[in-house]
Amino acid sequence: MTAAVLALTASGLSLVFGIMRVVNVAHGAFFMLGAVLAWFVSEWVPGPAGLSFAVALVVCPLIVGAIAAAADMAVLKRLNYEPEATIVATIGLLYILEQAALSFFGPDARPVPAPLDFRIQLPWFGYSGYKLAVIVGAALVLLMVWLILKHTKAGLIMRATQIDRDTARAFGINVDRVYAGVFAMGAGLAAIAAVLIVPIQQAHYLMGGDPLLLSFIVVIIGGLGSLRGTLVAALIIGLGDGVISTFFAPTLAKILATLAVGLILVLRPQGLFGKRAA
């Protein structure tokens, strides 16, 4: 469950880093924005929880993606995707988004009703049907991302841009549009993950911090920019997270995790499973 949502969030971060070489510090804020928007949708769309959830699942990633694309074109493009400047800019973006959520959504955590309410009762334990649906849904989205990247023209263009921006431009690829699209897609993936998780975890304006940290860990362990590595790492971390937090206090677990990320970056900058230099 955690692993599935984590994989979605992290794949967004990985996609953006892999293709654009941009470390998006605002990724957690996009995640938060998805969750907050899901709450608004569930308030405004009448009818059963299932309907509003379906609407949220479509609308939220689109809105978040549009905001991300706008941010990319208005800010990141002008910085020429210079790595250090973009980090500063995305920090600014993070502040703006968090403040916007605080101003319009308020400081309280708010629940969103789950669209499915049944439990699968196995002889030895019960399992929430919704959680199962989330896993399936997340797997489907990831599969789709994978297929788009590997087997469509859009994916081919993205990969071409990743390998050599200038040559891609010389071949008539509109690199600016590809970048805006990739940035939007990365943010959209975070938003989908957030919509999926919000019936379980409430929406809150500061909820982006933990997913951001975890995504960083996943992306770094999986090898920067490698989508396959990211998926594997997400599974390991997602399953491992539960194990770790049963042994350690949550704060101590976070301390160890952050230190681990720092040390891994120092000792193996290409990631634990990455082969190419980052």
């Binding site: 400047a85 952050t258 120092v266």
Partner: protein, 313 residues
């Protein structure tokens, strides 16, 4: 000739701040004292970022080290302000040196993330040892711990003058450093690391020295902040406090001696003014960051220097 002009300007700033002490309304008097302490922090940040080109996102770790070195000593061990300031200075420098040993093996984006991660680990450590640090709530430093010999740092006038003294020393040391051969080598590292290496300078030791000096500044500032305002809380060691000096330096002008002070001054009053009309002051920070990096990456003094005042150190 140039030497005198630059020195004159900096001594002039110190004199102006001293004059301000006698005419300032109480509200601004306290603000400027706070700004001077934060400016020391920003100057330290500038030594790493502005001069040496080390963009760190983890300076709150050094600031927090100084803050808690002084705070915990005063709170748990009945330390006095003199010991606190020295402890803070050394703690900031030592932590920066230790972090530098690891983090300086990386550069650019990786360096930013590594420093960010270590600073976050430091912040979480403060929360984890909540029984000593009282976490977010923070510790209030007893009056006895805020005595610098016979000077009472909780008194407004004393506080301003001590802040000014520390600020003046920090400013002049910074000026001296910026014009010394060592400072020039730091700038050389920023501009072209490979060429500097070819000329026989070891990038690793130069950067490590710069980061350590930067840590000394941050630690001193943290200790002064704790002792002068009588409070040490976890929020002062959070990511926010890593971003603040970056913001100050970007605004005032990276790689200028007065830039950090100017940036701190303007940003402080900008946020202060914004808070009076809206409670969305984080928004101001965010917009300022984005606009600065977009339109004025050199900051105010950096732009002025480019436009003519080339002697500005």
């Amino acid at each position: 000739m140039t030497v005198d002009r630059a020195l004159f300007l900096h001594l002039g700033l110190i004199a102006a701040l001293l004059a301000f002490h006698f005419v300032a309304p109480a509200y601004h008097h306290t603000n400027i004292a706070r700004i001077m302490v934060l400016a020391i922090y920003a100057m330290g940040y500038n030594i790493a970022f502005g001069y040496t080109g080390l963009l760190s996102l983890g300076h709150a770790l050094f600031f927090g080290s100084g803050l808690y070195a002084a705070g915990l000593l005063a709170y748990h061990a009945d330390g006095t302000a003199g010991i606190g300031l020295i402890a803070g200075l050394l703690a900031g420098g030592a932590v920066a040196f230790a972090l530098g040993l690891f983090a300086l093996r990386t550069a650019g984006v990786a360096f930013m993330i590594v420093t960010l991660m270590f600073a976050q680990a430091g912040y979480l450590t403060v929360l984890y040892f909540g029984s000593y640090t009282r976490g977010d709530e923070g510790i209030v430093i007893p009056k006895a711990g805020r005595m610098l010999a016979s000077l009472d740092l909780s008194d407004d006038n004393t506080r301003y003058l001590v802040a000014l003294a520390l600020f003046a020393v920090a400013l002049l040391v910074n000026l001296w450093l910026a014009r010394s051969p060592r400072g020039r080598i730091m700038v050389a590292m920023r501009e072209n690391e490979e060429r500097s290496r070819m000329l026989g300078y070891n990038p690793y030791t130069v950067k490590l020295t710069a980061l350590t000096i930067s840590g000394l500044y941050a630690g001193l500032s943290g200790a002064a902040y704790a002792l002068m305002f009588g409070y040490a809380g976890a929020s002062l060691a959070s990511v926010q406090y890593s971003i603040l000096p970056l913001l100050y330096v970007l605004l005032g002008g990276a790689g200028t001696v007065i830039g950090p002070f100017l940036g701190a001054l303007l940003m402080f009053y900008l946020i202060d003014y914004a808070s009076s009309i809206t409670d969305a002051h984080q928004f101001v920070t965010g917009v300022a960051l984005v606009l600065l990096i977009l339109f004025a990456p050199k900051g105010i003094l950096g732009t002025i220097r480019e436009r003519g005042l080339k002697w500005l150190p």
